[in-house]
């Protein structure tokens, strides 16, 4: 088996499902395609030897965030199957603009030097190695994350709670 085959299969699936997120007409289908896209990105994490990141990615994105999106969609677009769409002119403009961005990005990185292939012993993706970096070098950002989560909690409660008296 060609050893680069898993990468190409996963990459094709990622790009296809990402396109379907944008192009599918029903919002629920968009959410489901995005969940699939996140699973393929998780597959890339596995290929990159980042197993813990894979687990976290599946738990946080596919498990929590996308469920929240689905929830909101059910809440808001309950009976409207099809949403109004932009005019074809604007769609064409959006496609061209995104294509230009892609062109610029690819052209800018094309001439860059490639990193040499790495040695086999890359076990930086394990839980304990990540923990050592997280609680050593990045201790302050870690503590600040708790303040961010606290702020988000207060904000969500303020916005979501009907004022009871």
């Amino acid at each position: 088996m060609n050893p680069s085959l898993p990468f190409f299969v996963l990459a094709t699936l990622s790009v296809f499902s990402a396109l379907m997120v944008v192009l599918s007409r029903k919002p629920v289908h968009s959410v489901l395609y995005l969940i699939f896209c996140f699973f393929t990105i998780g597959g890339h994490y596995l290929l990159l030897n980042a197993q813990f990141l894979f687990a976290v990615h599946i738990i946080v994105y596919a498990g929590a965030i996308m469920v929240l999106f689905l929830f909101t969609l059910m809440f808001i677009n309950m009976n409207k199957e099809l949403e109004p769409h932009k005019s074809n002119l604007l769609k064409g403009a959006a496609t061209i603009a995104a294509g230009c961005l892609l062109l610029v990005l690819v052209a800018a990185t094309k001439g860059a030097e490639t990193l040499p292939a790495i040695s086999k012993t890359s076990d930086i993706g394990t839980v304990s190695n990540l923990g050592k970096a997280l609680y050593g070098q990045y201790l302050l950002p870690f503590e600040l994350i708790s303040i961010l989560l606290l702020t988000a909690m207060v904000g969500a409660v303020m916005l979501g709670k009907k004022d009871v008296e």
């Binding site: 680069s4 898993p6 990468f7 990459a11 990622s14 790009v15 990402a18 396109l19 997120v21 944008v22 968009s30 959410v31 995005l34 996140f38 990105i41 890339h44 994490y45 290929l47 990159l48 980042a50 990141l53 976290v56 946080v60 929590a64 965030i65 929240l68 999106f69 909101t72 969609l73 809440f75 808001i76 677009n77 949403e83 109004p84 769409h85 932009k86 604007l90 959006a94 496609t95 603009a97 961005l101 892609l102 690819v106 990185t109 860059a112 990193l115 292939a117 790495i118 890359s122 930086i124 993706g125 190695n129 970096a133 070098q137 990045y138 994350i145 702020t151 988000a152 916005l159 979501g160």
Partner: protein
């Protein structure tokens, strides 16, 4: 399967992340449903996450993966507050069509 890092150059991951990011940008301009626009922003964040992980693995440096953790935490906070705002908007004006949400437009 372990040899995949030896056969895939880092360029491929850069290109894949660029493609996914551009699709996200396209979705933001393409759709009118605010929730889908929000989802496309998540897609862009994930493209960046994947690129950070690829660089982290190829350099043998854990910092990139730690950054992905922070991005995930920020994304979760963003989604929590953003979706609460969207639901609030829906409760007040009964739509999340971004063409209708133009009260702040000059």
């Amino acid at each position: 399967m372990n040899s995949i890092l030896q056969v895939i150059p880092l360029n491929y991951y850069v290109a894949l992340a660029a493609i996914l990011f551009s699709i996200g940008v396209m979705g933001v301009m393409f759709r009118r449903n605010a929730i889908i626009v929000f989802m496309c922003i998540e897609l862009m964040l994930n493209a960046v996450n994947m690129l950070l992980t690829a660089f982290s693995t190829y350099h043998g440096d854990a910092s990139g993966q730690v950054m992905v953790f922070f991005i995930m935490a920020v994304a979760a906070a963003e989604v929590a507050v953003g979706l609460a705002i969207l639901v609030m908007i829906y409760n007040n004006i009964r739509t999340v069509d971004i063409n209708e949400l133009n009260k702040l437009k000059w």
